[in-house]
């Protein structure tokens, strides 16, 4: 089942913060976040496993609430380079990682000067 991302699009000024959410109707083993710039391939940002851990990558961090089957991506003090489409990919196999992901439809983030 495809996870639902919100919002679908967001426009920010440089320096502003944003939150992107990803929800699933199935119990999740892991959530992955990717960023794709126009005309390029998706690039891995981070993976969150069962356990509710929060991860960080520069000024981008994420949390995973396995009880709510939700993950959120936090972009702090956004930079122009953050522009792109952000995808969450969910893995719902409970016996361990299988590696295969179902991706959401993406959230398009535009950072303006």
């Amino acid at each position: 089942q495809q996870p639902v991302q919100s919002p679908q699009a967001v426009i920010l000024r440089e320096g502003e913060d944003a939150v992107i959410n990803c929800s699933s109707s199935k119990a999740l083993y892991s959530v992955h976040w990717y960023r794709q710039k126009h005309g390029e391939a998706p690039v891995f940002l981070m993976i969150l496993l069962k356990g509710g851990e929060q991860k960080g990558h520069d000024k981008i961090s994420a949390s995973f609430n396995e009880k709510k089957q939700q993950s959120s991506l936090y972009l702090t003090a956004s930079q122009l380079s953050y522009s792109g489409t952000y995808f969450c990919g969910t893995e719902d196999f409970d016996g361990g990682s299988q590696g295969n992901l179902i991706f959401g439809k993406g959230t398009k983030l535009s950072v303006k000067p």
Partner: protein
């Protein structure tokens, strides 16, 4: 710097023609994925392999699509016959699954397919 490579990068063909896309996964990775990306559908998983064995190809139209991994360094996606609705960007990704630790996927640059 290890990367997933895909060929061709761009392909324009006519309806009814056979199309073969190739992917070289990162050496040592044990899973390979084929995705299709369109504006309408987003990123769709077509098929994936673990240790060269196909695990799931339920996302693929079976009558015209086929995916194989003849060896550890090559994965192929074939469309025969191609149709205009197959126009999309096709991504190959590889990853290393190690038990319960999860794995990240590395995407190739994609093949942009246009079927006229």
């Amino acid at each position: 710097d290890a990367r997933v490579t895909q060929t061709p990068r761009d392909k324009v063909t006519e309806m009814g023609q056979e199309v073969t896309m190739r992917c070289q996964p990162i050496l040592g990775h044990n899973t390979v994925f084929w995705y299709r990306q369109t504006m309408m559908q987003g990123l769709e998983l077509l098929a994936y392999f673990r240790n060269r064995a196909p695990l799931d190809d339920s996302g693929m139209p079976k009558d015209r699509f086929s995916a194989e991994m003849p060896d550890a360094t090559l994965a192929t996606l074939k469309i025969q016959p191609s149709e205009p609705r197959d126009s999309a960007v096709y991504f190959c990704a590889s990853g290393l699954v190690l038990g319960a630790s999860g794995s990240k996927q590395f995407f190739g640059p994609g093949t942009r397919l246009t079927v006229l």
